[in-house]
Structure formats: C-alpha cells, structure tokens
Symmetry: C2
Subunit: 303 residues, 2 copies
C-alpha cells in the first residue's frame, strides 16, 4: 500500500494516520507515529491554544516528518487555533464535528492540506464540494464523538467511496493487520487508527485508563448522549448514570447539566475511572498488550 | 476462496450463505442460491410448521445442492420444527436467538450440520462447547434481531476468530465484492449475506418493501426495541412511534403492547410500508438494482 493517493497527498511513507484524540494525542504520540512513516495528529480538542502551540513546536523538534492537528470545529476558540496552525506552518489539518465550508478555503490559502472527518456520504460530498483534500469516514464502532446515522465502518466505507472522488481514509474498528487489510478491501485509500494508539506507551492518557480499556469486553462501551452529541463511552459509574437517565427519558438540558465540563480530563488524563468520562472504540477488545508505536507499525508489517 | 473450511463443511462450491430471513427466504430464494453454488436457507421464523415442510419439499425439488433452514430458538413450536427437519433430512440447520445447548446434540445425532448465529465471542465459545460445526458472527449493522453488545462486524469478526477454532461466517454490512473480500481479510471463512438477497427478485418479500429498501438512506434504519429483543427497523411511521415511546422512557410492557403480532408480515410480505414492521440491514444503502440471485453471484465473481 505504499505510494498510493494518501501517501502522495500527505507526504508519508505508509497510508496510516493516528487519530487526533482528546487527552491521548500529544507531541510524544504524534511525533512517534510520524517518525515511523505514518501521519501523527495532535488532538487540539483537549488543549488550550497555548498548549497546542507548545505541542506543535515539540512535535516539530521531535520529527522531520509531516504531522497534523485535529480540531473539532465546535472548539470555542477556533479562530485562535486556526491562527496558530498557520503561524506554526502545520502541514495538515483534520477537521471534525462541524461544517467544512467556513475554514477550508482559509487553510488551503495558507498551503495547509485539509481532511474532514465524516460519518455519512452526505457530509463527504459536502466536504468535497468545500474543497477538502480527503475525508476520514468514521464508523459507529469508533470511540468518542459519533454520527447520528450510526452507520458502521463496513457499511460506510463503500458508500462514501461511491459518493466522492477524493481519497477516503477508513476509521472505526481497525486495530490490527486484519482490519487494516479489510479497510483497503472496502475501498479505502488509507486507515486512521485511534483506539490502538490511545492505549500505547506514547499516548498521554493515564495508565489507569489504558489498563482499563485494554481487552475491554464486547459491549463494554455504548453510544450515549444521543440528545446532545452522540458519544461512545466506556462503561463505568458515570456512563451507567447517563444510560439510566436516558432510559427514563431525560432531556437534553438535564443531560447537559449532568455532563459537566472536565469529566473527560478527570477520567482519561487523571485516571478517575468511575467518575470520569472514558472514550474508546469497540475494537479495544482485541488490544491487549502494552506496546510502543514502533511495535504497532511492526505488527502491521509497516517497517 | 473455493475449497476452504466452509465449502468443505457444507458441501458447497462458494463460501457464501444466504441469510434465512423472515418473509424473504422461501424455497424460490433458497433453491436459487443453492443452484448457484452457495448455501440457500429457508427462514422458518415466519413459517407455520406445515408451511416450512412444504418449502423444504419445494426446495429439494428445485435444487440438488445442499440447503438449510434457519430457526430462531425462541420459535414457539420449536419441537415441531426440529421433528420436521429431521424427517425431511434437511442437511444444515442455522440456529439463532437462543442457547445452542438444547438442540445441537439432537441435530448432530441425526446427521445434520449445525451453525449457530452469534453476536459475541462469549456466545461463540459457548456454541463451540455445545458442539456446533460453525458460527455466523453477525454485527450491529445487520437487519432484524441483533445483539445487546452492539458490536459491529469490523470489531466482531477478529474477536470471534480469536475466540474459537471452528469456522466463522461473517454477517452484517456485506453486500458487494468489497465487503465480501473484507470479511475474509478480517479472518472469516465464509460470508452470510442477508440484505442483498432480501431485495432480489427471488425473495418472497413484497415488491413495495424491496423498492422502499433499495438505496435506503444512511441512517434509514435504527436499532430499536432494546428493552425487548434489539431489532434493526427501517424508518417509517411504525418505527417512529417506537422511537418516540422509547425516548420518552416507555417500558417493556408498554412496547410489547404496541408491537402486536403480525406487524412484520404486514410490512414485509403485504407491503404496508408505514404501519408494518420493516427489517433490513444498513448496507441496503448500496443495493440499488433489481436483480436475480444469478446476477448477485456474477457480481461477486462467483460464476
């Protein structure tokens, strides 16, 4: 799979992207992935703008390879983030959770490649129309924020492939060489892996969180918060309370009041496994070892 | 993929099984699939025992190839079904929605191959322990009855593959050559396709239902009835009412009272698209043509 449309577009050796995940994807993870020939991403969603700038600079110091930043477009200080990535000459931006129309022209004008994360062929087409260079098509099994359609990777990739002509990166449910190969069989040009990288040594998540998620039972995560932004949460006391409220018919306002700010940091970064919010993909069930980024690339035959 | 563990086990030319689906899988569909070199299945779930016997006899008259019967183990007259399949010398039984312990020894004693449908590696292991010959591992994206874990095909197949040593047939989200190849990449030994066969010419479903489901929008079906048996339903007035009741916190008894018997027949067989219950998989979004079973095999390169 070397020398395909994604490696050419992003200037990388292997068509493998590491998902930009809140509380997991700092400079250590992103630079390690880029040094192995993939595309490392910083997860701006959990960083203050100043922290993001610091991580960008540390990434540049730690790798000479291309890297990128993932930012959810609903990020409150989005203007600040966009100013920083231009100033710091970040080569690639992954944008998610919002319309690609507003920022794509700005980023492209500054020579930045733009990849939009989508969960439907409708948004994939809109993204192509907005001028993005590629899309990540992410299925229901992925961790964290998720599409309302609940379309799985198996159903989504062929549909998106048929809907657009730009390159498609498959995400959701991919954590070993079997999933990696299946993604290309489905029509993808590249793969984005989140879960396996979130649980590896260079991830900035707490060791408690990583140990809790490795080998997670099937059904050990649930898509909840559908009245807010659908989000895949790992089972714990916090998610059980949300599920209970939802089963009893709780509305959006009631849920928002319960899901106070800081819960994701508390769980994923500080390791409070019961009171915090934990996000991981279904495929955590096959991730069992404590390993490095280099181990992951080697296990995929990318070395 | 000819001459692998599934073709050897089932005595078929290609490792492709047609799902045994209520109101779709009668003798016309099953015999056409078996005549093309796959394994056709009768869907006993929507047949009275006498009707099942009639369909078995018509299938035997229409094909000399192996075929099978799928029966949900919660079928009310299950003893009668088991007696009939032994009397009629059905070569293969697919059992679903229940424990494989009770009937597997009986069927095996009568020389019948047994394949259990599972949605988790836990049930896959239990099925192997109970002596079944193979499992169908069916993901969240599949139509109709579904697992509580909500594990997708992409995440389920590698997990089940690692959990058992008997052959694994992948199901859920597979409708073209891309999904077919991806299933083998994920570690499956065979493929079960439901949706695409449900919508083809030989399916006994109503033409109104087939036309409604072809090219279904992404997000056009939902996993509902989680307080009863989780079931993927196509969006219509009937499913909208269920979703509304569930969002308002309706309990099991209230839902059961609303989902009266006969709704699936009304929708899928009689073509009442708004008041009936419609079941199809997510991958209906890529099934667009009116076609025959032979067309399907040819498009998969199985001819």
């Amino acid at each position: 799979m070397e020398n395909n449309r994604i490696t050419g577009l992003l200037g990388i050796k292997y068509p493998l992207v590491q998902g930009g995940m809140v509380w997991c994807s700092g400079w250590r993870l992103a630079s390690a992935v880029s040094n192995c020939g993939g595309l490392g991403l910083l997860g701006a969603g959990s960083m203050h703008p100043d922290t993001l700038r610091e991580h960008i600079r540390k990434t540049k110091a730690a790798t000479s390879g291309p890297f990128g930043v993932n930012v959810p477009l609903m990020y409150p200080e989005i203007e600040e983030v966009m100013r920083i990535v231009v100033e710091e000459e970040v080569p690639v931006m992954f944008t998610s959770a919002g319309s690609p129309k507003k920022w794509t022209p700005y980023l492209k004008d500054h020579g930045i490649k733009v990849v939009q994360v989508v969960a439907s062929s409708l948004l994939a087409r809109k993204s192509e129309d907005a001028g993005v260079d590629a899309v990540v098509a992410e299925g229901f099994e992925a961790g964290g924020h998720n599409g309302r359609e609940e379309t799985t990777t198996m159903a989504l990739i062929p549909t998106v492939r048929d809907a657009v002509s730009i390159p498609v990166i498959a995400a959701g449910g991919i954590a070993d060489i079997r999933g990696y190969r299946a993604a290309f069989a489905l029509g993808a040009d590249g793969v984005q892996m989140g879960t396996r990288f979130a649980l590896c040594r260079e991830s900035s998540a707490s060791e408690e969180f990583k140990a809790y998620c490795r080998g997670l039972a099937e059904g050990g995560s649930r898509l909840l918060l559908k009245k807010m932004v659908p989000t895949r949460l790992v089972d714990n006391e916090f998610s059980a309370k949300i599920a209970e409220m939802e089963a009893a018919g709780a509305g959006k306002a009631e849920l928002e009041a319960f899901v106070a700010k800081g819960r994701a940091k508390l769980g994923m970064f500080e390791g409070n496994l019961q009171e915090g919010m934990l996000e991981i993909g279904q495929i955590a069930s096959i991730v069992k070892e404590e390993e490095s980024v280099a181990d992951i690339f080697a296990s995929l035959g990318l070395a």
